[in-house]
């Protein structure tokens, strides 16, 4: 009896090993394939761009293998050994992690777009018709307003949101102390702090809260797929710059794909799913009409005061440490004081 069991066990281990040879994602080295590890919203957005890429010279006979999820999770997976040719993540620190792990070149930002593939801004998503009349950042701290925003300790989207909120006070002439008491009042109104931007959107669509802080492109895409809400472009906002980088070991096709993403053709297709075209090609892209935008004819209204992490917060490395450090971060401390 034991012999049969032993044989069975060995056979199973053998079977496992065999499946191992066929189950892994295909990547790196095979010039005709591109393995993308991206953050969640890209799943829909990349479809059109990949198809168009396939019709270009550099993209013929190229197959894509894609994985999408929360930006931090994805970054961590690649760090843990998931194979990828390109990572396209929500914010820079998620790529920096891979540089530190030796998987991405330290000079990944040395290019025309500074390592950015897609742009958007932070917007205030409200119920249809904006019944509570939320139009400014100050409105968020009014009594009775319920805010939904993702959790900064696990979501990249959340960090953009909070920095935008903080920056709105500074942009209006406030000092750090005022900004911090604003954030305190902000957190008092938060009713849900889901783990990721996508979960926050689902939570809001499910009926929770009066205001959701989100990416503009996420709001537009949700409206395209039938979600029934409006969004407000506030007078001050933060430019969301999603980072993309090739891994040290990547396929030839991946390099061509990266260039295509950043080019006018690629950016025009990203615009169709709500992203703001990169500054380097805005003129080439020209005017676009975007279904799902509040005003499809003018989908990307100018923001009166557009902040960037680079100019107004000292770059992501400094900002991450100053505001979001697990123990000493300014915003982290306010968050735990508020009970989250």
């Amino acid at each position: 009896m034991a012999n049969i069991r032993a044989g069975g066990a060995l056979a199973l281990i053998g079977a496992l090993a065999l499946t191992g040879c066929s189950g892994a994602a295909d990547a790196s080295g095979d010039s005709g394939s591109i393995a993308i590890v991206g953050y969640s919203v890209l799943e829909e957005a990349n479809q059109g761009v990949e198809k168009a890429f396939g019709e270009t010279a550099g993209g013929t006979d190229v197959s894509f293998s894609e994985s999408y999820g929360a930006s931090g999770d994805q970054s961590r997976s690649v760090q843990a050994g998931q194979k990828a040719d390109e990572v396209h993540l929500s914010l820079e620190p998620d790529v920096t992690r891979l540089v530190d792990a030796g998987l991405v070149d330290a000079n990944w930002k040395d290019n025309a777009t500074k390592g950015v593939c897609t742009d958007s801004i932070v917007v205030l998503v409200v119920r249809k018709g904006n019944p509570k009349n939320v139009t400014t950042w100050a409105d968020l701290t009014k009594p009775g307003i319920q805010i939904v925003t993702p959790d900064p300790s696990s979501s990249g989207s959340a960090k953009w949101n909070l920095l935008a909120a903080y920056g709105s006070v500074i942009a209006n002439g406030g000092d750090d102390a005022t900004a911090q008491s604003y954030i305190s009042a902000f957190f008092d109104n938060v009713v849900a702090l889901p783990a990721s931007g996508r979960q926050a959107t689902s939570t809001f669509t499910g009926g929770k809260g009066d205001v959701l802080l989100s990416y503009e492109n996420e709001a537009i895409l949700a409206r395209q797929s039938g979600s029934d809400f409006d969004y407000v472009v506030p007078d001050s906002s933060l430019l969301i710059e999603n980072s993309c980088a090739l891994l040290k070991r990547h396929s030839d096709a991946a390099a061509k794909w990266l260039d295509f993403q950043k080019g006018a053709a690629g950016q025009k297709l990203y615009a169709a799913t709500g992203y703001r075209p990169l500054p380097s090609v805005t003129n080439e892209v020209g005017d676009v009409s975007v279904v799902g935008a509040m005003d499809p004819a003018t989908p990307f209204p100018a923001v009166a005061t557009l902040l960037t992490v680079e100019k107004d917060f000292g770059g992501w490395d400094a900002a991450n440490k100053k505001y979001f450090d697990a123990d000493e971060g300014i915003l982290t401390k306010i968050q735990s004081a508020a009970g989250f």
């Binding site: 012999n3 696990s154 889901p194 783990a195 009926g207």
Partner: protein, 284 residues
């Protein structure tokens, strides 16, 4: 009509079944080989990975454990998780026994279907359970009640996923309980309550504790459905979501420490219930 599983008492593995006439004997050579292979697989799958978690936690020294256990958010989550697990396990102990009673002793059309209903929480992926419970008992649900982002919501989700454990442990014991003892007691003038208290319940205690042990373990580790209903609202975080936060924040050692704390608690609960059950059985 017995639907599922032949009648048997829910004993814990490892208990020498002297009551049932079986003897356990020392290992023969083929059995030892089998044990070696089984332990090899068990190590590769469970023991070594869990050891890696312990090592990761220990890497930060006692300091990590101290920091994790004194962090107010984590402490609140720990207290809430354990409190909920205890409450739900107690509810399951009672409701599970009642459900098993109705399943075994009652008669009505459609009772066979009820057996399947009990097992649905096993059949439903946790993420689906969360979605469905949210749709019914969350914002905009048909009953007008909204437990999303509240503590009762989490209790609801956990009650759902742990429902089958006690029922399925008690049901076969109840089925195999010999009626003649009850009838003798009744003919001697014992009231129904006394019969239940003195004869039936003691026979069910081992099964109830076995089911409760599983229910508790599952309750403290539930993630998928809870994360959806709790929405991480203020004061509604559980340990599994806290662990996730530590990982996302890059503090793997703290996550590992929290995981070790929870596993130790589960182990203690299992052992305690096992000892309790054995002591109760010895009194027979």
């Amino acid at each position: 009509m017995v639907l599922l599983a032949s009648a048997r008492p829910a004993t814990r593995p490892g208990r020498t079944s002297s009551r049932n006439g079986g003897r356990s004997r020392p290992l023969t050579r083929p059995a030892a080989l089998g044990l070696g292979i089984a332990m090899g697989w068990f190590s590769l799958l469970v023991l070594i990975p869990l050891a890696a978690v312990v090592v990761k936690a220990a890497g930060g020294g006692w300091g990590t454990f101290r920091d994790v256990l004194t962090d107010p958010g984590t402490l609140a989550a720990l207290r809430f998780t354990l409190g909920t697990a205890v409450i739900v396990t107690l509810v399951n102990a009672v409701m599970g026994t009642l459900i098993a009673w109705v399943l075994v002793r009652d008669r009505f059309p459609g009772k066979a279907l009820l057996g399947i209903v009990i097992d649905i929480p096993f059949a439903m992926p946790t993420v689906v359970a969360g979605l469905v419970l949210l749709a019914l008992y969350g914002n905009g649900g048909p009953l007008g009640v909204d437990v999303s982002g509240t503590r009762p919501g989490v209790v609801l989700a956990i009650a759902f996923v742990t429902l089958p454990f006690v029922v399925r442990a008690v049901q076969p014991v109840l089925t195999s309980l010999e009626r003649d003892v009850e009838e003798a007691a009744a003919s001697l003038g014992a009231s129904r309550t006394t019969t239940v208290r003195r004869i039936i319940l003691p026979a069910l205690i081992p099964a109830i504790t076995a089911g409760a042990s599983l229910s508790f373990a599952r309750a403290i580790s539930e993630y998928g459905s809870v994360v959806l209903i709790s929405m991480n609202a203020r004061g509604v975080g559980v340990v599994s979501t806290e662990t996730y936060r530590y990982i996302e924040g890059g503090n793997t050692a703290a996550a590992a420490a929290l995981a070790v704390v929870l596993l130790v608690i589960a182990l203690v609960a299992t052992v305690a219930l096992d000892v309790l059950q054995r002591r109760a059985a010895r009194r027979d």
